[in-house]
């Protein structure tokens, strides 16, 4: 691959992958809001 293609590809793929992983990580690790919230799986049985 030529240098400019490689730089553009790696930077684009890097930015997109990082942003995807970062925001998904934030979603997964966010503390649940007090009940009643929008999600049934974390409801007290």
């Amino acid at each position: 691959m030529n240098t400019s293609a490689l730089i553009l590809m790696l930077s684009s793929v890097g930015i997109v992958t990082f942003a995807t992983a970062y925001f998904f990580f934030r979603v997964v690790t966010a503390k649940p809001k007090p009940e009643p919230d929008s999600y049934t799986d974390n409801d007290p049985v």
Binding site: M1, N2, S4, A5, L6, L8, M9, S12, V13, I15, V16, T17, A19, T20, F23, F24, R26, V27, V28, A30, P32, K33, P34, P36, D37, S38, Y39, T40, D41, N42
Partner: protein, 513 residues
């Protein structure tokens, strides 16, 4: 009101939203657009449009949805009416959020059914031993519904009805029991299949299994920037259009999904996560499959020629043949991965198209959930008939153009004006930030108010010559029937909205002392 449904989990909601956005276009449309619009340089206007138009529209639609859900509305006619109750106009503009989903689902489910059929044919080894022309001819025979490719009479129709029944059955299971479960299974599988194919595509070696180029030749071709293209309005229009279609904005599906989120729960981070997940599938996986594999076997000139007719031909006519070069077992695995990921990309989107219609019927006419799901399936079946039987006459493409392209831009333009200028940015900004788990940069307040509407106006005006050309081209009478059907769907839906509004007014009059 029907606010009795809930999402099972936050991850499920994000995956369902990402699944709504991820569609066949991520793998078939994006790489072709990039090839045709400056190669690697296309990514720059593409990402700029994502930041200035895509992300703002995602936040706007999530915020509209959650606002509407709080008032018992799960479809755009009455979500928009709630945002500006003084003007009758908005609920009829909101009809786009129902019309578009019905019309797009009509042809999209047919397209989705091809992937099911091709999974079957990949496993059955139908393409083994066939020449490139025979595999390409198989597709043309397949969509000519009167001719059977497997001995099953009307095979394409059988797979289409199976696919439609599957969609309806999942929708009847509800949000958390159906849509969310499919997203939780489908999205990880889609990414896994994409990664397997991307690794195979990138590691292709010239001379092995008949390949004439390394996989990196395709990547090099796709990513080599032609910076002069960045000054072309056409390239920017293509980038904006791609962002539009890939995020599924302007359809009313995001509003519907978000309407089941409570005010204190986050939408800002959810929207970012779902939006970037779509970008990952498109930019990282979508770019690493179809072009590198095709160029690996066919060379650059041939692929450039093939992309002139769009990505559908490459995906259904070319790739199945190229997979057979890997031997029967790997061809079957690759076929299942490729058409499997296209199926999951399709089904998570088509399910999203059903929910606004069901929400509308439940909210306004008190329909039961299952009845609403089967009604949706029935209407999509009827609307799909001309797309299936007159595919070769161009009805499929006509539905795609008017409902799947023009309507999205028109609706998004109206909704951003409503949100930023009539509902008002003070209320709008508060709505986006309520319960937010991230701090939304304040610059986006001004982007939503000024830049995004200007972008959308630019996209709309830029599309006008193509619309004019489309309206003036000679088409067969079947296409005119398709156009009349589309107009009828819009007016019938508007009539339903009118009846629902009168019903609401009567109820309010009864409540008043």
């Amino acid at each position: 009101m029907s606010n009795t449904e809930n999402w099972g989990s936050r991850v499920g909601l994000v995956l369902a939203m990402a699944g709504n956005a991820v569609g066949l276009g991520n793998f078939l449309r994006f790489p072709v657009q990039a090839v045709q619009n400056g190669g690697g340089a296309f990514i720059i206007p593409y990402l700029v449009c994502f930041l200035l138009m895509g992300i703002p529209l995602l936040w706007v639609e999530w915020a509209m949805g959650r606002f509407g859900g709080r008032h018992g509305h799960h479809s755009t006619p009455f979500i928009m009416h709630q945002m500006d109750p003084r003007r009758a106009l908005w609920k009829y503009i909101g009809v786009f959020g129902i019309f578009t989903n019905l019309a797009v689902a009509a042809y999209y489910c047919y397209l989705e059914s091809w992937t099911l059929s091709y999974i079957w044919h990949s496993i059955a080894g139908t393409f083994i031993g066939q020449s490139a022309d025979q595999v390409a001819g198989f597709f043309s025979t397949y969509v000519d519904v009167g001719v059977s490719t497997t001995g099953i009479p009307y095979e394409a129709v059988v797979f289409w009805i199976l696919c439609l029944a599957l969609n309806t059955w999942i929708l009847a299971k509800g949000l958390s029991g159906g849509v969310e479960k499919v997203a939780k299974i489908g999205m990880p599988l889609l990414i896994l299949f994409g990664v397997i194919l991307a690794i195979r595509g990138v590691t292709l070696t010239a001379g092995e299994n008949g390949a004439i180029n390394d996989g990196t030749v395709g990547l090099n071709f796709l990513w080599t920037p032609d910076y002069s293209a960045m000054w072309s309005g056409k390239v920017w229009l293509a980038a904006a259009g791609q962002i539009f279609f890939t995020l599924s904005v302007g359809m009313g599906t995001i509003q519907c999904y978000a309407s089941y989120v409570r005010k204190k729960d986050d939408i800002a981070l959810n929207a970012m996560s779902a939006g970037w997940m779509n970008e990952f599938v498109e930019v990282v996986l979508g770019a690493a499959v179809i072009i590198p594999i095709s160029i690996g076997y066919l060379g650059i000139d041939k692929v450039v020629e093939l992309t002139k007719t769009g990505g559908l031909g490459l995906g259904f006519k070319t790739l199945p043949y190229l997979f057979t070069q890997w031997g029967p077992v790997l061809a079957a695995v690759a076929g299942v991965c490729w058409f499997g990921l296209l199926f999951f990309a399709g089904v998570t989107s088509s399910l999203a198209m059903g929910t606004p219609i069901m929400g509308f019927l439940k909210d306004e006419f008190g329909w039961k959930h299952k009845n609403a799901a089967w009604f949706f399936g029935g209407v999509v079946f009827l609307l799909g008939l001309p797309c299936v039987f007159w595919f070769s006459e161009g009805v499929f493409d006509e539905f795609d153009y008017w409902a799947g392209t023009v309507s999205l831009v028109v609706f998004a333009l109206f909704e951003i004006i409503l949100f930023a200028w009539i509902f008002g940015m003070d209320k709008g900004w508060n709505e986006i930030n309520a319960g937010a788990d991230i701090k939304v940069p304040v610059i986006f307040r001004y982007i939503i108010q000024y830049i995004t509407p200007l972008f959308l106006i630019g996209v709309f005006i830029g599309s006008l010559p193509a619309i004019w050309e489309k309206m003036n081209e000679d088409v067969p009478w079947q296409v005119w029937v398709g156009r009349v059907i589309l107009l009828s769907v819009f007016f019938i839906t508007s009539w339903f909205v009118y009846v629902a509004y009168q019903k609401r007014r009567k109820q309010l009059d009864t409540v008043k002392p």
